[in-house]
């Protein structure tokens, strides 16, 4: 069925993955430090194609997951699909690429299954890159409260009118989730048949889904604008903050040591 109502979407206020409240060091680290590290990590992953660099980064990532104390099953639960997809990429590469050294050959009836070093290397590199980028993003999302991130960005200089767009968008996600389910239910209640996947049916389904959603969503804009401007939103270019998020020496040490690690990898592998 097209656009099935999946239980995970209804249960959580955010689909799939979201912030997991906690008290670990990573949870309490300054949001911008985490953001900078995420970007630094991703750039390092993309810049260093050597398999050993990928493995080193992967172990660093695992260590970070440990630090976040999300529980032993968390990594596997959230990244299962990604790991499987990565393995599939390795298999494809091994089957396709026949270069480098012949590592193993398994003679079968009509052909022999051969594993060449370059195929294995290429597949491994791809899989690690994929795992590292997505794994680090997931970790970032799991330990960073979006609210704190937005406030930290604004306190660091992002104009607050833009910063609040992120907060408002996040604020409405549970409501959009609910409305999406409502629209789906209303469609079924009217007997609108969405089963089957022919192109005209999909196009019609898309129209029946998106139009009510867009209209309801935009219907909130007036109320929000009145509520926000009625409370002096945008009256001045700057505003104050009740709570300020400060960098601690632990943040600084964390940031510095991570960057020393990245630099070492660059020095060694680039």
């Amino acid at each position: 069925m097209f656009l099935r109502r999946s239980p995970s979407v209804v249960s959580g206020y955010f689909p799939g993955l979201n912030y997991v409240p906690g008290q670990s060091f990573l949870h309490r680290a300054h949001p911008l430090v985490k953001l900078v590290l995420l970007v630094g990590f991703s750039i390092t992953v993309l810049a260093l194609p050597a398999p050993m660099a990928g493995i080193a980064l992967f172990f660093a990532l695992l260590a970070a997951y440990g630090m976040a104390r999300l529980g032993p099953g968390f990594f596997w639960r959230k990244l299962r699909m990604i790991v499987l997809f990565g393995l599939a990429m390795v298999v494809v590469q091994v089957l396709v690429v026949k270069e480098g050294l012949l590592l193993a050959a398994l003679p079968l009836y009509f052909f022999s299954l051969e594993i060449w070093s370059e195929g294995l290397r290429g597949g491994l590199v791809m899989m690690l890159r994929f795992l590292n980028i997505i794994g680090s993003s997931y970790l970032f999302v799991a330990v960073t409260n979006p609210n704190n991130l937005a406030y930290a960005l604004m306190q660091a200089g992002l104009p607050y009118r833009y910063g609040f767009m992120l907060i408002t968008a996040m604020r409405f996600i549970p409501i959009f989730q609910r409305e999406l389910n409502q629209v789906r239910s209303a469609q079924m209640a009217k007997g609108i048949d969405l089963e089957g996947a022919s192109l005209p049916k999909i196009l019609r389904a898309v129209r029946y889904l998106l139009v009510p959603l867009v209209i309801t969503a935009l219907g909130k804009v007036d109320h929000l604008a009145i509520s926000m401007e009625g409370r002096a939103f945008g009256l001045y270019h700057r505003r104050s903050y009740m709570q300020s998020q400060k960098l601690t020496w632990r943040d600084a040490v964390f940031l510095a040591s991570a960057f020393i690690f990245f630099a070492a990898l660059f020095f060694y592998f680039y």
Binding site: N147, K190, I226
Partner: protein, 507 residues
């Protein structure tokens, strides 16, 4: 200090493109500390007046404004809503739509922070505002985890934190269930008692408010037509009754008459998403019955209606229609038997014209060809919608949209109607139309389940009340008996009369 908090002189306003003025010749002076009620039928201009006082008219809405509005000596024509923000605050109807942050504390701090106040001052104001609405314990909570009433309290606190001289509450309880309504009313009583600010409450349901008020204004077609003060107020409260005409009720047939078999029978129903929200619900409805489904928000009223149709996962239990088990039929088949309308009409409009929208379920459920179902046209006519037949459904007003959804259901006449708050946005005349349609449905032996928050409606229209609490059906009884049981349980805000103080322009 000025003598008046706000002064309105000869104010008229016409929205751009509207046929007539929304406000006409309004004159009003508000004294410091005054508590004022503003009431009148929907579309009478109450909310427009609130927009004028907060400066969103003329800044923001396009249209023609005449006359002047001064708040604390500031002319709204020269001062934007932002500038007026510390002087006048507006709390809107739907708490969900006026909260813009993720945490209670951030929401209340939002205004003072925008003023660039010192963090210590912001903190002090947040504490004070939350205490003023009796919500200090909510400070650390996430907004999405709050109930409707709690959200509205936070919305009021977030406006109070601006320290306005004039606070306007625009139907602050319209979207709330009776329990939450009672909470918000208590906040208003507290404000009246403890804080020295001018308050305007725009409301339909007045009984608990009238004792607080210094004045009540009744508006009609953009004008203030009557003003009540002092003694008059309490008299009016007693005198004016709800507009609902009584329908002759069809209760469960008495034991000694030959009992017809039930039309709709639900046995031990448990339904929800991953876990059952609805637990072990059983009831039977007999031909011609209209049942009110009542309970707090989140008690499972909408869940029950949706579960009947199989829109949720059914864990246990059976649903019978005319003795046939339909529990596990496909949703699209069940939709042919159970016509469901949702609370928010915007979620259930799909087509590009009113006529197509009205025909939609007939096409899908009955296999009619466009134009084939003659009932559609006569129903559109009956519900005052025929004039809009080629217009975009989304451009209709809330009440019109709700009527359109009903037309689309009635057009294919399913034996069971499941209506979620069908009366929202309907004036007395249109409510009568709906009543007529339900009578017709009864005459054909159909049954109706109707979620409603207004005990007056339940009392006037329904033969039976199904009362839900935390997903369980705790009361299933004929109306009078159900009210007695509710009273015995102390659920007094669900009794008729608890919200029936209506004021009209007549008399």
């Amino acid at each position: 200090m000025e003598k008046y908090v706000a002064t309105i002189k000869n104010l008229s306003f016409t929205y751009y493109g509207a046929a007539g003025p929304a406000l006409e010749g309004i004159n009003l002076q508000l004294r410091p500390g005054e508590f004022l009620i503003l009431t009148g039928p929907s579309g009478c201009g109450k909310s427009t007046l609130a927009l004028c006082l907060t400066g969103f008219i003329p800044h923001g809405y396009t249209g023609l404004m005449e006359g002047t509005v001064e708040v604390k000596g500031l002319d709204t024509r020269e001062n934007t809503p932002g500038r007026l923000a510390g002087l006048v605050g507006l709390v809107q109807q739907d708490p969900e739509m006026q909260l813009c942050t993720l945490r209670v504390m951030d929401e209340v701090a939002f205004g003072p922070e925008n003023l660039g106040l010192d963090p210590a001052e912001v903190t002090a104001r947040v504490r004070w505002a939350l205490a003023a609405v009796g919500a200090s314990d909510l400070a650390e909570r996430d907004l999405y985890s709050l109930s409707g009433g709690e959200k509205q309290k936070v919305a009021i606190a977030s406006v109070l934190a601006m320290r306005p001289s004039l606070l306007i509450l625009d139907e602050p309880t319209a979207n709330l269930d009776p329990r939450c309504t009672a909470e918000v009313l208590a906040v208003m009583e507290k404000l009246r008692r403890d804080e020295d600010i001018t308050v305007i409450v725009i409301e339909h349901r007045l009984e608990r408010l009238l004792p607080l008020a210094d004045r009540a204004l009744y508006m009609e077609r953009g004008r203030i037509v009557r003003e009540f003060r002092g003694e008059e107020l309490s008299v009016q409260a007693a005198q004016y009754r709800p507009f609902y005409r009584k329908i002759d009720r069809a209760g469960k047939p008495r034991v000694n008459t030959p009992a017809p078999p039930p039309r709709l029978q639900v046995e031990g129903l448990a339904a929800g998403y991953e876990a059952p929200l609805l637990k072990d619900v059983s009831f039977s409805l007999y031909p011609g019955e209209i049942a009110a489904v009542m309970g707090d928000n989140g008690s499972g009223k909408s869940t029950l209606l949706q579960a009947l149709l199989g829109l949720l996962k059914i864990f246990r239990g059976k649903i019978y229609l005319d003795g046939t088990d339909i529990t596990h039929e496909k949703v699209s088949r069940k939709a042919g038997w159970i016509g469901l309308s949702f609370q928010n009409p915007n979620h259930q409009l799909f087509e590009s014209t009113v006529i197509k929208e009205a025909e939609l379920p007939s096409l899908f459920l009955k296999g009619c060809r466009p134009g084939e179902n003659r009932r559609v046209l006569s129903l559109l006519e009956q519900f005052d919608l025929l004039a809009y037949r080629d217009q975009l459904p989304f451009a209709l007003s809330l009440g019109e949209k709700k009527r359109l959804t009903l037309v689309s259901l009635l057009a294919y006449s399913p034996p069971v109607l499941a209506l979620d708050e069908p009366l929202v946005g309907q004036d007395p005349h249109r409510s009568e139309l709906l009543l007529g349609a339900l009578q017709e449905h009864r005459a054909r032996g159909g049954v109706t389940l109707m979620v409603c928050h207004d005990p007056a409606v339940a009392s006037a229209w329904c033969g039976r009340i199904l009362f839900l609490e935390q997903g369980g059906l705790i009361i299933d009884a004929p109306t009078e008996k159900a009210f007695a049981l509710l009273a015995a349980r102390g659920l007094t805000h669900y009794l008729p009369g608890s919200s029936s103080g209506f004021i009209t322009g007549e008399g």
